[in-house]
Each structure stands twice: as C-alpha cells, then as structure tokens.
Amino acid sequence: MSDGMVSKLKSALQNFGHRLIDQFWRLGSASRLFGYTLASSGESLRRPFLVIREIYFTGVLSLIIILVSAFFVGMVLALQGYNTLQKYGSSEAIGVLVALSLVRELGPVVTALLFAGRAGTAITAEIGLMKATEQLSAMEMMAVSPIARVIAPRFWGGVISMPLLASLFSMVGILGGYLVAVPLIGVDGGAFWSQMQASVDFREDVMNGFIKSCVFGVACTMIALFEGYDAPPTAEGVSRATTRTVVNSSLAVLGLDFVMTSFMIS
C-alpha cells in the first residue's frame, strides 16, 4: 500500500471518528436538554397560558394540513382496499381495513411526519433565530431560564397536540374512506360500520395508536427543540438545523414505530 493511500485511509478514519464522537456529544447534549426540560416543566405548567399558546401554534395551526391529508389518505385506502378485497369477495371488510390501518399505523405515523414538517420546522427556526438574535441570552441575563420559559412550554404544547392531531387524523381518514366506499363504490353502509365496530378493539388498537402518537410527540418535539437550541447562530446554521429536524424526526418516527409495533404485536 502506497504512502498516499495510507494517508487517505488515515484521514478518512479520523474524519469518521470525529463525526462519531460529534454524534455522541450531540446525543448527550440532547439528553441533557431533555432532562432540564422535564425538570423545568413544573414551572411552565404552573402558567398554563404559556402551554395553551403553544398548543395553538403547534396543534391548531397544523390542523388544516393534517385534516386534508387524512381525508385523502382515507379515500386512497378505501380505493386500494376495495380493489384487493373484492377479489376475495370480502369487500364489506373495507371499513375494518380502513379503520385498523388508520388507528394502528397511519394515523400516528403520518401525523408525526406531517407534524415534523409543519410544526417541528417552525419550532426549530423560531428557537434558532431567538438564539441568533440573542433573545435567549437576554432572557438568561434577566434571570429567566430560557428552558423553563421557552423550551418547556413548547415541549408540552407538542406532546399534548400530537395525540389530539393523530385522533383527528384517524377520524377524518375513516370519514374519507366511508365517502369513497359507501356512496361512491356502493359498499353497504351498515356492513362498513358494524364490521368496523366489531373488529376494532379499544385497548389493542386505539390505545396502542394513542401510545404511539404520545411517543412520537415527545420524539418530534424534542428533536425540533434541540436542533433549534443547538443551532449555530447564523443563517446557514438555522437552515441546516431546520433540515435536520425533518430528517431526524422522520427517521426517529419510522424507527420507533417499528420497535413499538414489534412489542405491541408480540
């Protein structure tokens, strides 16, 4: 092996090592921020208007994109499901298929992905810009903890909003599925609702979906907050942080979904 190749290999290994150590540092910083956020939550929750304001910004303002997406997802599910089910003569089970797909998987997962894109990026950009314009430093110098005043209310706003948005997603998705399956395709309405009622279990399906959306709420909101809080205080730094929020949140949601589904099914 030539000297040039050895030096290139050494530099590649060093680069890899630096990146790996950097990722561990970031993971440590994120865990520390999570700990501080939980520790400061009492202070924020004692002033509920701060959390309600954040529920409005992250939850209410995300409603349109969530509801419109849910409607289309429900309609597509009904179309695709009917296409397959009719081959086996069980097109009446379309209600069960739509409801289970939405309540167990698509509701929490798609809501979390949309949440990361809509609310997560807004949180990251807002916190990043507050840092870049020294608003967080100013707060600190006023003896006001930015974690208690800025981070914790946004965290709880996101965590409370996510399961509510996921529930609405599932409901509107089922409505979309109904509109395609019953009035459009002609599936029996009674069969659609009764089979759904008989097959969807509250504890097994609805509660599991609810647990997933709560976990996704914690993950997506915390990633968005950390990326904003950790962003270099420059235009480029905030822009990169915003991108990382979407990428990391999406990967975290899909990874956590697999892990939780494995436990829930077994």
């Binding site: 314009t133 020294e134 608003q135 430093s137 100013a138 600190e140 110098m141 006023m142 003896a143 006001v144």
Partner: protein, 268 residues
C-alpha cells in the same frame, strides 16, 4: 464593604485551548461609568458574559459584590443576575412581543405586582427613553436606535445595580448616538447604578464615561480617565484614539511575503 461593585482578578478565558484573555485585572467602582475598549475580536463582550455568569473563566475570578460569579449555584446566580441589566448589541428584543410587553417582561417574571402598577412602571421607563408613544408597536417595527432605547428601558426595568452595555452605538446615526450617550449617563446617575460600556467608539465613549480600560492581545494595555488617555503616548492607545490606519495593530492580517505569494501563482 468594598467600593468596587465588580472586580476582575487575574482573569484568563479562552475557547478550545486558545486564550482570549491572559490575566486581566479590572475594577468597577460603584456609581461610575466605565468603558472597556479594544479592537474587534479582542474579547470585550466576553468580559460582560463572564460578569453575567454565562461563561466560566479558565483561571482567576470575577466578583460581583462579595460573590465570586462562577462559584454560584443556579439559584444564587439567578439572584445575582437580578442585580444586573444588560443591553445587547442589537437590542435582543422579543420579536413576538410589543414594546410595552418587552419592558413589562422582567416585571411579570420576577414580581407579583398588580397590572396597574406594572403599567405605571412601564410607562415611566418608556418615558425615560422617550418612547412612551411607541408602546403599542411591535419590536419588529422599530428602527435600530428605537430598538436600542426600548432594550435600555427593559434592561433598567427592575432598577439594577449594574447596567452592562454591549456596543450600544453600533450601527446608529449621530443623533441616536447622542441620545444613547445621554441616556446612559442620566440613567446611571438617576438610578445610582454602575455602568459598564463595551465599545470601540472613542469619540462617543470619551464624552461621558468616567474611566476607560483598553484591552488588546488578551491583556489590559492601558487604563485611565478619558483625559489621561487622550494625552497617552502609548503607541496602541495613540493609534486607537486617533483612528490611525497602521501602527501596533497592523493594517494587514498575518500573511506570507507579498512578492513570494504573487510569484507562487506563476510557478504552476
């Protein structure tokens, strides 16, 4: 009790192994306005952050009153910061709040005063900086000079003992500069506070401060009253005070020999 409200003793601070300050000593007497001057990147703002406890020194200590700042726990540090007010370079106003709410912010966070009293106090602070009429404007609707004045009203909202100003004149027109100079002097005297002004604007600073520290290369290179420093024969102070292009602070950033650098391109 000491006459100095803030004392910096043999302070060293740096990032990633590179020392920015190498054994700095400074003292800030009660009731005075003291300027910290030096070129860009000389670590002037860092000194304010060390006093505020946002950074920890590598060596030495910063004392506020009789307390060593970096030895304070979280709660004690918060108590110490309540004695301080800081005006940030660009104001650092909360952009989602109005002028009124920005000034009311520290009062709402640290007191349980009734709303009518908060209103009276906010109006008094805004009147002192001449912006009572702008109370309903959003922070984003203000000019640079107005934002700096609102930030000043917010910094003195709780009548601090120490007021720190980070580059209060940066980017301001001459009229706004004059207004800010007067406000710093008047507020300091009215509140009986001590002011620390970080700046590199010699003309403005020398017109109203009581004492000046010059820092360069991580150390205090000169100190004295504005009158003493105007007469100083120290090369750095002379260059800085008279705004000379070249001197101890070179015009050129460290670079290889010019001729050799130019010829290198022709060797390729």
């Amino acid at each position: 009790m000491t006459d100095n409200i803030v004392e910096i003793d043999n302070l060293s601070f740096g990032y990633k192994g590179r020392l920015l300050h190498k054994g700095i000593n400074m003292s800030f007497p009660r009731g005075k306005i003291v300027a910290i001057m030096g070129g860009s990147g000389s670590g002037k703002t860092t000194i304010l952050r060390l006093i505020g406890g946002q950074l920890k020194p590598v060596k030495g200590e910063v004392r506020v009153g009789d307390k060593v700042v970096h030895e304070q726990g979280r709660n004690d540090l918060q108590k110490l910061r309540r004695k301080m007010g800081m005006l940030f370079q660009m104001g650092a106003l909360f952009t989602d709040l109005s002028v009124y709410e920005n000034v009311a912010f520290p009062m709402r966070e640290h007191t349980s005063l009734p709303e009518t009293m908060i209103r009276d106090l906010v109006m008094m602070k805004l009147n002192a900086v001449g912006l009572r009429g702008a109370r309903d404007l959003m922070a984003t609707e203000l000019s640079g000079g107005m934002a700096r004045r609102v930030a000043l009203a917010r910094a003195v909202a709780l009548d601090p003992e120490i007021i720190m100003y980070d580059e209060p004149f940066a980017g301001l027109d001459p009229i706004s500069m004059g207004v800010i100079c007067n406000l710093i002097r008047n507020l300091n005297d009215a509140l009986g506070a001590t002011s620390l002004v970080v700046t590199h604007d010699v003309k403005e600073a020398f017109s109203f401060v009581d004492y000046v520290y010059f820092i360069a290369d991580g150390v205090v290179v000169a100190e004295g009253t504005p009158a003493e420093l105007r007469e100083s024969t120290l090369p750095f102070v002379h260059q800085f005070v008279h705004g000379e292009v070249d001197g101890p602070v070179p015009f050129h950033y460290a670079a290889p020999d010019y001729r050799r650098d130019m010829l290198r391109g022709h060797d390729v």
